[in-house]
Symmetry: D2
Subunit: 487 residues, 4 copies
């Protein structure tokens, strides 16, 4: 079967029921509406890449089920090599789009994680979740589906558990179990890439105990399923996307609130139904892989920032090498999160079910770095760019093109004879978009907070073992057990 | 004479000739146009403060010329105490507006700097610049003028000097000297607070040599002077300002390109005319004071970020103290730049002419910190805020208020029973505005780049003296002079 | 009366009763014993400086009591200018010695702090402490006394208050009050500069409550007072001091445990006796000034590191400018702690009693920086130095001078024709001494820990005020009080 | 054949000709001399580990040549798994010794690197280097040889190439080629673990051009070969090692100058002889692997610092969790360099000759982090430890044991009832040793400087490719080639 093309992909989105809203309005066609067409364009580039000899090795692979060529982002990752391609794919997508294409990322991770967890559940409960999942994976591979993934719930009061919330809908829940399926209700918030996706993989947002078992649900739904209302979030400077000029690049990101009002999911799309005991496993496997790979996202965007910094320096008329020290610092930040993510993968292992699980300690360490290093990279990029890239320090496209005074704006935006005013303006706006504009991905809290990651790091420090090494080296003969906790 | 009120101030702006443009259109009234009304509101709060017992000590002082009570931002700063009030005033203004009110800052510094430089020039050349300046200062004090200051030129090709530019207008220049005044031409770029100002103080943007003496000009002009076209720059998410809802606070900042097309300045407003030798002094005194005080700007905004972080944590339902470590880190960043700026002032001295000049080494060191620490503060603020404050992760006001699905958005934006959805939304949007939105001031390159500051630091390191201390301590008897530079 | 000379000073030390121990032995003459002669040499340079025209302005001043010229380190600091000289003096001393001369520092601060606190106590209790203190200050000024200061107690169990300790001696305490004086007992630990001091100023190590009032004692004692045993601590590589070659510089630092076994202090040397309420004031004023000034200590040592880095680069045969970026970073670290300290002073104020008190928020912020930035400076210094300065990477003086193979060692330690092997070796050992050797001062915990400083920062953040600014800017109408603390 | 035991190892060292000097004296038995016995003890623990079920999996493997069980540190690393054990082995050795055991590290890497490079040389030149090397590897595996590795030359004048040095011996060189071998002369400096090694693997210290071909030499020599004089370097506080008490742990590190005076090497131990073209390859492969693995060294020492920090906190009487934030930060530093090193390995590949080569970009990025993060870890460790661990702030063992006043010292060093004074002292001295004492390994410049690593990073940034991504995203249609370099 032929790989899906950009055109097929666009067609598949156009065929869907409109259920995405932004700025108070229903979007009739996500592929053309200014609020969503950029994120669609971003995802479409994954299909272009599959047909581009330069990128095909990364963008495609062969199904371990069928032996057919498939889009990489629908594959089962069964080896270190496979999962390293997850990082390579993400870095490539940032190179091609400058930002986050969540529809080629979270669903992919979700299907791999659930491959392992359904295996474990089936083994304990005699369920047939993995068989259902396999059927759906084959369908996704055949149809080159773009699949968003949704974990984060609206949550409500952070100090209460899901079942204690005054509004039970604050976390997505199973409202009813029928013979042929389940009915779910609630909200998944801040979900990436939904407007550009064909389907959405829903996973529990937390590790649940028995009293919260109604919230233990994993399933996959078409984006336009009945009862689902999608409201896009607004991002910095996203109103620029309503226009069509150099104030904003052609690609984009999207995030959304998914509001489920009694949505029916047929059984063959349900992969967990109240097996609360395994929700922790989902979180554990998901974050291990996701936080390993996320280093590649910020590295890829950092690469584009390096490129953009080089361009603006040239457009500013500055010699090569002026900022080489800063570019090296940026590169070190990029390679650190990319490489530590690879390290987390290499220190991981294959699950008995067959999909790879990265090492949690290194993955969560990486998440902490992802919450800090890219901020330095952005700062360096703005530092190199000079005043024109900082806080949008030049007039808008409309002023640039004003018949009355546009020639004056252009005269003064131009810096030297070599490049046009427009070129300098475009380079500056790209940096603005990358560092404080609509292209900034939500990588600090995306996939969980750095503080959460630190808790995992803490849980993985073998403190008593380290204390024992130290005790022996110091020649201390007294026992020195961990003291009692006191308040 | 009574201090100017908010109402007087608004009236004075309304009375001016419209010459400010944004988004391709002429703004007929800067006090009401959505593109400029927020920066006017910010500046108006300086007048409120003058009448508010809580702030009057900071916001007002007594003229050393007349003994009359005046607005602080029009005063001559003749003592350490005086200039410390510059920092206190700026920090207060950030507390009241959340952002930069350039019209109460740069012109103020400019008049002080020129007080000293005109003294030096008059002494060498027998000119009467200081007398002219004094006359204007008295006028500014009497009328409570908001005065923007403009140094940065459009610059053109960074590798060429001003007189070598293919387009001589790239730097503001004296085109003609007449008996009664001068004619200037060119462009000042990225100038703060112009739309909210009554006048603009123009200073040379660089230290010039003889061949560039046409660019050695200092003068003051009414904002609406004939021949001046002002084009506002666009900042991240500034289109939100066109609406009027919680997606954006009521205060704001502005920056602009000032395009001078053969503007005539009468002699009594000209304070330097081709005395190129003193342009370096202007830069030196200006940056010493400006970069000392700028630590107070970022501290003041950092204070508001601390406050906003506390609010969002409360709105998120989190206990007090959850983020105390991060808040302490934020405070340390704030106090470092504030306190080092105060240190630069205290290590400075009174110029023979009477106005205070801060210590350049400490001031430029502060500038380097101002280009880094606030970025950490912003990151910490986003870290505390959680996913909802990062990259605008919730729907817009229009979605929030949608008659169709707004109730659902509100239901899920609400976190716990204590605070309304709107309160949480407002706190989140404030953080967005402060950290990646239209409220971000351009403090990295504003008043010059951190790399420029490092050059001043470098020039002020007594390397051979330090080497000599080390040589004596090491007991080295050989002379160890600085080696020849080789390429 | 003439200023004390180096010779007078040495003589005064020789005249004292031997009560200092190190390496298990009583030191008969601190001015010649290898374990203490270097710290004496360091302090002696303060007397040289008083007679050196280059340094006399810093090293001396005029007594506000007598109008006589005195050593700066015995003066009352009554103005901002006075206390700024504290910083200048410390930075100078580091330039001259490369390390800490605690005997010209802590006692000086102590006498100023007690000047203010005795004033307050006398006012409340009708005591005559200030009069006693004044008498002693006059004596110290007349005799150019080097006065160590001691706050830190041995402490015992950190989880118990002083009066709860199983061993009451863990904190210095008043054992008995007699008509003519008091008897004290206990231990002050990690006290700087004692071996080189004439006297020791004792202050309480903590803020005490009523039940701990026996520990509320301030007084001054001759270093060789009966009943006092002084045991020097051992520092990294201090055994090198037992030899006399280029493996170690000629100057040095000292720290000691002071063990008081029922020591009688006559009343005219007692300045606090159980007035527990004022112990907090002592800590508050002491740390405010000390932590402002400490920025100058690490800046001064950082200056020497810059110098040493320049020397080793030259000795390594490297061109000027190779490491300029790193030297600028080092300088920025130095000026930051120096300048922020000056800022803390300028933001402080004169106490009604007459001595200056620095601003606590800025001073404690500075302490946090002092616990981090100098570590970066040291790292940079080692980075510039190359392998030879890291972890002592070349043979010892004895190998260097070996008749058998010393010529080979010298042949290979030499780098290029310009400088001798010995010169390169001396520069390398200086850096080792400064960064990981016996010259490293204890500035992280000296005068209290950075975590303690953070608590003061925290206590000084007006969180609710900042939250209120943010609430107004966000347009939030609900009240948002600080939530209850929960565990 | 049985694995070598600790006893065999000690015996093998005792059997060698004395040629190691320190403090001006020839060491007759390195296994008992105080100056070297600690590094021998450290290395001996690798043999213990081979027999300890807890560590055997890491400490041993199977020879790919013979199928026999061998010590891990003599193995050829042919897969990712193999080379990951290099990191695991190093981290384990730090756990067991607290410091660097260079004799189980550099020679191991050298034999692997030369396995690949001899393959390439043999292919081009028809030499039989790999066969010679194989023979030696078999011998090393059979005899469980501890093999130091030496690259760094004395270098002389850094601004001249090897062949331009006034003293040609500044870099190790081939003085003569004979039929049966070569004669070498010169000096390798700062070489780790030599005193504890059986043999030394010599590699060129730089990439050489044709005119420097005499310096292109790789070979392996017994440590006690005729004509080799070894002078140990002195490290911070190494004189403490001359005693035998708690002031210093029982393990240790060593570094040395190796002085070759016309040493004859028979042909079967020569693996490169003037093939200058391949010296660059040696450097490239060596640094790629070495700088990947070095992350494990500093992680292992960081683990011990975490343990030591926990112990001192307990000995100080502080509750668990007091410093958990800092311990998490330390762990993050450790895992970052460890994990990024693993990432560099995973991103590497198997050389056609069979040994693994890590990815240079990630490896050199890791080196830059290794030159910074451990300094923060040390600072945090000192921060947690409190005043007693900083700059050696308590008396020496001799004072502690003084019959006269030792009881007083112990009384005051003790903190609380739980642990003895000696336990607290031991924990404090361990931290001193780890952070500023003789246990500090030379990891900043060891294996090359961080600046050198940055040059490799720079060379590996595909700047034009990144600029092209940015150009496309910005929609810039002009070509923007890299500008000419100008000075």
């Amino acid at each position: 079967m032929a790989l899906k093309t950009r055109e097929d992909y666009i067609k598949s989105l156009k065929a869907m029921r409109p259920n995405v809203y932004k700025f108070g309005k229903l979007i009739s066609d996500v592929t053309t509406d200014p609020a969503t067409r950029r994120t669609v364009e971003s995802h479409a580039r994954a299909f272009d890449a599959a047909y581009d000899p330069k990128y095909a090795e990364i963008a495609t692979t062969v199904s371990s089920f069928t032996g057919e060529k498939i889009h990489r982002f629908t594959s089962l990752m069964e080896s270190l090599e496979d999962i390293m391609y997850n990082s390579k794919f993400k870095r490539m997508m940032y190179h091609l789009t400058g930002t986050c294409t969540g529809g080629t990322c979270v669903g992919w991770n979700a299907l791999n994680v659930m491959w392992n967890v359904t295996y474990e559940m089936d083994k304990e409960y005699g369920t047939n979740y993995q068989e259902r999942l396999k059927k759906w994976i084959l369908y996704a591979q055949e149809n080159g589906l773009v699949v968003a993934g949704a974990l984060t719930d609206a949550k409500g009061d952070r100090s209460l558990r899901a079942s204690q919330q005054p509004d039970l809908d604050s976390n997505l829940r199973i409202k009813e179990i029928r013979d042929d399926g389940i009915v779910i209700r609630g909200c998944k918030a801040m979900i990436c890439g939904v407007a550009a996706s064909n389907e959405i993989f829903l996973l529990p947002g937390s590790a649940y105990r028995e009293e919260d078992k109604d919230f233990a649900v994993a399933c996959v739904v078409p984006r336009d399923i009945e009862g689902l209302t999608i409201v896009e979030t607004r991002r910095p400077s996203d109103e620029r996307e309503l226009e069509n000029n150099f104030d904003i690049p052609e690609t984009g990101i999207s995030q959304a609130y998914l509001i489920f009002e009694d949505v029916f999911i047929p059984n063959d799309r349900v992969f967990m139904c109240k097996e609360f005991k395994y929700t922790g496993k989902i979180i554990q496997y998901f974050t291990a892989n996701y936080r390993a790979c996320i280093g590649a996202c910020v590295a890829g965007q950092g690469d584009v920032m390096i490129g953009a910094a080089a361009l603006i320096a040239r457009a500013n008329g500055l010699a090569a090498g002026t900022f080489m020290n800063k570019i090296i610092e940026m590169a070190i930040n990029n390679e650190t999160t990319y490489g530590l993510g690879i390290g987390a993968m290499a220190a991981g292992k294959k699950h008995p079910a067959g999909a790879w699980v990265s090492d949690p300690l290194l993955a969560h360490t990486n998440k902490v770095l992802v919450a800090t290093l890219p901020y330095e990279t952005k700062r360096l990029c703005q530092d190199i760019g000079g005043g024109i890239v900082e806080t949008g320090c030049f007039p808008s496209y409309k002023d640039f093109m004003s018949p009355e005074y546009g020639h004056l704006v252009q005269k003064y935006v131009k810096a030297g004879a070599r490049y046009s005013a427009e070129t300098r303006a475009r380079a500056a706006r790209l940096i603005e978009w990358l560092t404080i504009g609509a292209g900034v991905p939500g990588c600090m809290h995306g996939g969980g907070s750095p503080d959460g990651a630190k808790l995992v790091v803490r849980a993985n420090i073998p403190l008593e073992e380290f204390a024992e090494y130290a005790r022996k080296l110091a020649g201390i003969t007294e026992e020195m057990p961990e003291p009692e906790k006191k308040k």
